[in-house]
Symmetry: C2
Subunit: 213 residues, 2 copies
């Protein structure tokens, strides 16, 4: 299994966490979105859409769209489960994940921000990203059903946490305010190696941190 990924792609990070939580053996192939490697003939042969992430199964089948990939992994590698069994509980977790994966992330991804910059300049771009993320996270936080649980929904990570933590990394990049409850959940997640070791800055394709070791 090969995961095509980029350290800063938050959609790729969701899949990195799922693979790590479930301890699924895989290799990584790096596509630098900043230099346009996703449009290279090599990657387009894998995914004609040129989108990350893409997961190549051992038989050569290629899966795309991060939430579809995570659900596939959860069905084929059920332990530990990322979703509960009860339809209503599943609907709550799916709604939270989609409030980020549909309502926030696509509206502030690299492609969209480049379009905003073309129309309105750098200031419009920065304002756009911050506003989309701040209002979006406030809405997402309202979907949490408990103010006490360690993770988004209960005492172990679910699909909701896999989507939340990468989005908060983006929120910080753009200086967006993050509700305290979401920060607390993020801290709990980052205590787990599956979240911590898959962070952008811990990836082999991340540039060395300035002054870092």
């Amino acid at each position: 299994m090969i995961l095509h990924t980029y350290f800063r792609s938050t959609a790729s990070w969701r899949v990195r966490i799922a693979l790590a939580l479930k301890d699924v053996a895989h290799e990584a192939a790096f596509q630098n979105l900043k230099t346009g490697e996703q449009h290279s003939p090599g990657f387009l042969a894998v995914n004609p859409q040129g989108f990350l992430p893409a997961l190549v199964l051992d038989d050569g089948q290629v899966l795309t769209q991060s939430l579809a990939i995570v659900q596939y992994l959860d069905e084929v590698y059920p332990e530990p489960p990322l979703m509960p069994d009860a339809p209503l509980d599943r609907a709550r977790i799916n709604a939270f994940a989609q409030s980020i994966a549909c309502d926030i992330h696509p509206v502030q991804n690299l492609k969209v921000l480049q379009k905003v910059q073309t129309i309105g300049g750098e200031e419009a771009r920065a304002h756009w990203a911050r506003e989309v993320i701040e209002s979006g996270l406030a809405a997402s936080a309202q979907l949490l059903t408990s103010t006490q649980s360690r993770f988004c929904f209960g005492d172990r990570p679910s699909l909701a946490d896999l989507v939340l933590v990468p989005q908060l990394s983006n929120a910080r990049r753009f200086g967006a305010a993050i509700p305290q409850r979401l920060q607390d959940i993020e801290a709990a997640c980052l205590e787990l190696p599956a979240f911590r070791d898959t962070r952008p800055e811990a990836q082999p394709d991340a540039p060395p941190a300035a002054g870092g070791s």
Copy 2:
């Protein structure tokens, strides 16, 4: 069960199709997005996020996010199924649905287009919507695995078709080109009452068509 809907909300249309295909008894409550009824105290008491669709179950529980609602309905009312059983087949259908529900729809919804218009004016708005939909539909069409099937995936409608048909209605509104294969699938879907009777123009809250009966 009460579905809060607006005739032109394509996310609401997805849920209307699911309810119709599965013949689930429900009432409709109409929120006019154009006049801002989604921000009224009455609707905010139902869904504090002010988003459509929202499905109120008989016990008062409120479900949000259209794909989460459709999956819930598919799990609780399994006939006819909107998803196959095999994880790989499910991943293909989910990826197609998300290529529209994540990569197209949120980037061209009313809220985003209003922001684009504020930054760049009416021309920027129209260009933005058309470009997002055209490039998005071309990418989605690449995810279809058969050039022959009557519906997106196989000989009966799935989640993929529920998401596709409403998006094509938006494509027409903005004059975006639609791949022929997607038009053929749309025509097959609209032969079914569950798709035809849930169209925006067939809704009780749609304005009477100019010169229509």
